[in-house]
Structure formats: C-alpha cells, structure tokens
C-alpha cells in the first residue's frame, strides 16, 4: 500500500515533465499534422545545453531555461524551414515521419561527437535532497520540476488562448482551409509552432537533466513514451496530452514500485496498444470516418 501511494506521488510529479514534453509534440501535430519524431532528441539536446551552462558557467538549470528556450526556438524554426517546408503536400505525411526521425538521429550524432556517450546528469547542490512527509518521500528536484512544468504549461495556455498568435494557431489546428481564407499564414504559424514545440523541449530538457541521467541515445526511450502519451491524449490536444501524461506516468510509476522497474518500461506500450484497440482517437481526439 505504501509502495502504491509512493508510486502515485512519484508518477504525478514526473507527469509534469512528461506533460511539458508531450505538449510541444502534440502542438506540432495539431498545427502541421506532422509527428515530430525528433521531440525526444530535442529534449536531450536541451538537457545537454543546460548541463554545459551549468558545468561551464555554474548557471542553475532552472535559470538556464530562458537561454535554452530561445536557442532551441530558433533551432526549431530552422528545422521546419529547411527540412519540412520544402515537402510537397502529397509526400508530407509519409516523408515527414522519416525526416524528423533522421533529424533525431542527426541530433544524436552531434551530441555523441560533442559530449561523448557517457551518462551525464546535472548535479546541483540540491539534486539529491528530498523531504519526507507522512512517510512518503518527495524529491526536491521532482517537486520543482513539477512546479516549473505547471508554470510553463500555464504560459503555453495563455499563449494559445489569450494572444492573437494563439488564436491563429487554434484556427489552423481546427480548420486549416478556413484559417487560410481568413488570412492566417499557415506557413508562418507552422514555423513558429515548431519553434514553440522545440522551446518547450528545451525547458523540459533542463528539468529532465536534473532528474535523470542521460546520454545521446536516451531519446528513443523518451520518444516512445511521448508518442504513447500523445496518442492517448488525442493527437493535437494539449489538454489531452497533459491528462494522458498523468495517467501514463502514474501507471508506469505504480508498476515500477509494486512490480519491478524493468516492467514499468512496458507500461506505456501496453497503454498504447489498449488505446488503439479501444479508442483509437485517444481521449480528446476527433473521430474521422473517412474523407468525404
């Protein structure tokens, strides 16, 4: 029982980080209908950037976020412009998967060359601190990570719902044709949208680096989880991604603490299969019954 509750606490705290990572991914899908297989790699890149800023300049990873998000925003826009925009509409869905996969590997390669393949982690002074409340352990870092994720998600929410740009994004997501007729530049929204997706990955990277050890190959692990979360939440729904992150994260953590850590890795795959069997559009996705 204790293990179960500890698992739940752990899961909820971790969910924040995953929600942040998944929100960027689902946003990109919503705007461009592209599954960004490089999302995990971008998070790891963000982690390495934060790591470098910490080890070279002593900047705390949380404080590094404004720097890394701006950098990665630029990178995201560049990736969209160079690799995705040139695709013709008919090739787009098939090729974008492969292209973002290749970008992920490219990032992994660059990371391997620059930082070698040994595991890294960002060891701040508070990295191992934790509080014990009512017999349950709450690691400091995870709590801060959770709060930060909430903060960034809140900012994302404000951006999407209270700004003109956000309105444009929502228009493109819901109905690209009408949006174009109303003068929304889908191209610009796509590029900026991808940039924002990359920026959220940067923020998540700082947090990720504090909580988990990472190496260039860690992105596979991540991207699989993110994809399961996005599918469960409904592709394109940011709110759905958040809720799905909580569900997947908590289930995974419960399995880890009650069964074994090795099997917790399977949890998200099992969830993915269950979703596809029972409700393929996810929790908040739209049902399409064939094009008309």
């Amino acid at each position: 029982m204790h293990a179960l509750i500890q698992g739940v606490i752990f899961g909820v705290l971790t969910a924040g980080v995953y929600a942040l990572m998944a929100s960027g991914q689902t946003l990109i899908f919503g705007i461009m209908k592209v599954i960004n297989l490089a999302q995990g790699a971008m998070v790891i890149l963000g982690a390495y950037l934060a790591y470098q800023l910490f080890t070279s300049f002593g900047i705390d990873p949380f404080l590094a976020i404004p720097i890394t998000t701006v950098l990665m925003f630029g990178l995201g826009v560049a990736i969209q412009l160079v690799f995705l925009r040139p695709l013709r509409a008919q090739d787009k869905s098939e090729l974008s998967l492969l292209i973002t996969f290749a970008v992920a590997l490219l990032i992994e390669g660059v990371l391997s060359v620059t930082w070698r393949t040994t595991d890294r982690s960002i060891n701040t002074s508070y990295a191992n601190a934790s509080w014990t409340i009512l017999g349950y352990q709450i690691t400091t870092v995870r709590l801060w990570a959770f709060l930060l994720s909430l903060a960034v998600l809140g900012l994302l929410f404000l951006l999407l719902n209270r700004t003109r740009f956000g309105r444009a994004v929502r228009a493109v997501v819901q109905n690209p044709e009408s949006a174009r007729l109303l003068g929304v530049e889908a191209q610009r929204v796509s590029a900026v949208g991808f940039g924002i997706g990359a920026a959220t990955a940067a923020a998540a990277g700082s947090v990720y680096g504090l909580v988990y050890p990472f190496n260039p190959g860690s992105h596979y692990d991540l991207i699989s989880r993110l994809l399961s979360i996005v599918v469960l939440g409904g592709m394109g729904s940011v709110g759905g991604a958040v809720i799905a992150a909580v569900i997947v994260s908590t289930s995974s953590a419960i399995v880890a603490s009650t069964v074994s850590p090795a099997w917790s890795e399977m949890t998200f795959f099992v969830i993915l299969i269950l979703v596809l069997l029972v409700r393929p559009q996810g929790l908040f996705g739209t049902v399409g019954r064939g094009a008309i």
Partner: protein, 376 residues
C-alpha cells in the same frame, strides 16, 4: 475483326510478350552474375561486404512490401531482425549443432515466428492511419530493445549470447552464407514479382493511392496491409537468423539497432519505393558505401551524422528514388519525341445532329473563326 486489327493485335501481343521476357531476363542475368562471382577467388573482406550487401538487399526488398507498395513506412523492422537473431539463438542454445547447414534449415521456422509476431501488431496498428502505424512500430522497436537488454535469462542481456560457431573451413567461410542469402534474395524478389502481378499487388497499389476510396469500394484494405506486413517481417527475421549464425555472437545493441531500420528505409527510398529492383539497387549502392564509411570513420558517432545527413539529402532531393526518376525521364523523352500527348478518344456518342467532339479539339475556336469569317 479486320485483318488490320488482327495484325495490330498480334504485334501488341508480341510486344507485351517481349516486355514480359525482359524482366525475368534481367533477373536471370543479375542472379547468374552473382552466383558466379565468388568463384573468382575474391578476398575475404570483399566476400564479407557482399554478405552484408545481400543481407540489406533482402531486408530492403522486404521493407518495400509494406513501406513501398502499401505506403506504410514501418520504423520498427530492426526489431524483427533482432527477433530472428534471438530466435535462432534460442533454438541452438539447448540443441547441439549436428551439421553446419542445420541452422539454415530452421530459417523458415524463424520466418514464421517473425510473421506470427508481426501479425497482431499489424492487425492492431494498421486499422487507422499510417502515422499511428509508424508510432506503434517505433515503440515496438524500443520495447524489443529493452526486452533484449533486460530479459537476461533468455537473451543474455547486455553480455549477449553465443551461437555455435559455424564449422565451415576458414578459407571459404563466407560462401555458404553468401549463397543462402542469395537464395533468400531470389525468393524475396520472386515473391515481390508475384505480388505485383497479383490482385494483392493491385489492392496494395489502391491502398497506397487513396486508402479511403479503396476501402469505400470494398477492397479488403486491412487484410492486405496485414498480409504485406507479416510477409515483410518474416523475411526480415530470417535475415536476422542468418546474421546471428554468421557473427556467432549476438549483442543486443547490434541485433536491435535503429540504424538497421534507417539503412533499409534509405536504401529503398534511394532505389525507388514500390519497384522491384529499387531496393536492391539501393542496397548495392549504399551498403558498399556504408562499409567503407564504417571502416574509415570507425566509431559510431560521425557515422550516425553521416547517415542522417545522407538520408535527409535523399529525402529532400530525390524522394522518388533512382529507378522511378529514370523511368520518368524516359517517359518524358518519348512524349517529347512524339510531339505531345495523343488526343483522347471521342467521348460522346456521335449522333447525326452533332459530330463527335473532344475537349481542346478546337471546335470553339473553329466556331469563333467561322462566325468571324461570316461577319467579314
């Protein structure tokens, strides 16, 4: 039928016959050359390279069935390569090698295992869209990778496991593997050819062209996709089995390696998806280059960057692939030399009141001209 029609029929029949022979003739020449090649006393590193080229040729051709013909790019084929490798390892863990060729006899079983595992995966993930399918395959790859590292009892974990060493003489060690893989390639190519010529091929082509419409006109879309996928991964698993025996030692990071997936996808794209020879051409071109790169650049870091960059360049600049681009150029040249497209046939039932008319045949201009003439 008039005698003119009869001779036209005969001529076009003869042409069709000639075209029908050209394909198998090319195949015979190609495989004939490959059968004879090792007899020229090649060095070991060349034979080794050829073994890998053949491996990738089979896997790319197999991937082409689902990624090319069906239009569903699978990102998880490497998982089945690993499954094949571990399966053959499991078979020979408890079972001594009676004869050097015995593992090859088990290959069909390994193929069946791969196909049986692939079947439910396809059945679940191919019911919706191609992107969901890609997600499931890439997740499956990761799961198999994790299992390979963690199920230490079965797979030996990160220490890997050993296969009994093939008792072939060192001087000609590669040859049995070479010929087995060549046979596998011939089988795969023959299977692809048969599929293209069958209703299965027609169905897959319709799925690729417009899946919703195909479903709407009663084509058994899910059935054909699942079938293509199962065949594809069964073949891939067989290659994994051969590889495990060849290397004699199976490490999880090499058996279930995403680079294998990216290599076969790249080779198929380069040569031309949904063509018979495309993946084979792609494999021959790239694998040689890859072996060279691996040799020169040694460690995996730059290797990965080079691979990803080549992949991206090809995706962006030659997405159709070599063979289809050549075919397209040839068609354009023919069109240009015959002076434009031939006009479409009459579309209206010709009636006494109105001559048969075509779009673009100038009747509006004719009318305008005549009325202009009448006025002048």
């Amino acid at each position: 039928m008039s005698s003119v029609d009869a001779s036209v029929e005969r001529a076009s029949g003869a042409l069709r016959g000639a075209a029908a022979i050209a394909g198998p003739l090319r195949g015979a020449v190609f495989f004939g050359a490959l059968i004879v090649t090792p007899m020229f006393g090649l060095q070991h590193w060349v034979l080794n390279m050829l073994v890998f080229v053949l491996m990738f040729a089979v896997m790319s051709s197999a991937w082409n069935l689902v990624g090319g013909f069906a239009g569903y790019p699978s990102l998880g084929h490497a998982a089945f390569f690993g499954i094949g490798a571990y399966t053959i390892g499991l078979i020979f863990r408890n079972h001594a090698l009676t004869n050097g060729y015995e593992p090859f006899l088990w290959l069909p079983v390994i193929g069946l295992v791969g196909a049986l595992i692939g079947w439910p995966i396809a059945a679940i993930s191919m019911r919706t869209r191609a992107d969901v399918f890609a997600i499931v395959t890439i997740t499956f790859l990761f799961v198999v990778q994790t299992l390979a590292f963690n199920l230490r009892g079965i797979t030996g974990g990160s220490q890997g496991f050993a296969m009994p060493i093939a008792p072939f003489p060192a001087a000609t060690f590669e040859l049995p593997f070479y010929y087995v893989l060549l046979a596998l390639l011939a089988f795969t190519a023959g299977l692809t050819f048969a599929i293209i010529r069958s209703k299965l091929g027609l169905s897959l082509a319709s799925v690729r062209a417009d899946e919703d419409k195909a479903r709407g006109i009663g084509v058994p879309t899910t059935g054909v996709k699942v079938l293509a996928f199962s065949i594809s991964v069964g073949l891939t698993a067989m290659v994994g089995g051969v590889w495990a025996y060849y290397e004699s030692f199976v490490y999880p990071q090499f058996a279930v390696d995403p680079l294998i997936t990216i290599a076969i996808v790249l080779m198929t794209f380069l040569g031309g998806r949904a063509t018979l020879w495309g993946p084979i051409v792609g494999a021959f071109i790239l694998e040689g280059g890859q072996q060279y790169l691996a040799y020169e650049l040694g460690g995996s870091q730059f290797y990965l960057i080079a691979y990803a960059l080549v992949f991206l360049l090809i995706m962006l600049f030659l997405p159709r692939g070599i063979l289809p681009t050549i075919a397209e150029r040839r068609r354009q040249r023919v069109r240009r030399s015959t002076g434009g497209a031939t006009p479409p046939p009459s579309l209206l039932p010709a009636s006494p009141m109105r001559p048969a008319a075509l779009d673009g045949d100038g009747r509006t201009s004719g009318i305008n001209m005549r009325s202009a003439q009448a006025k002048s």
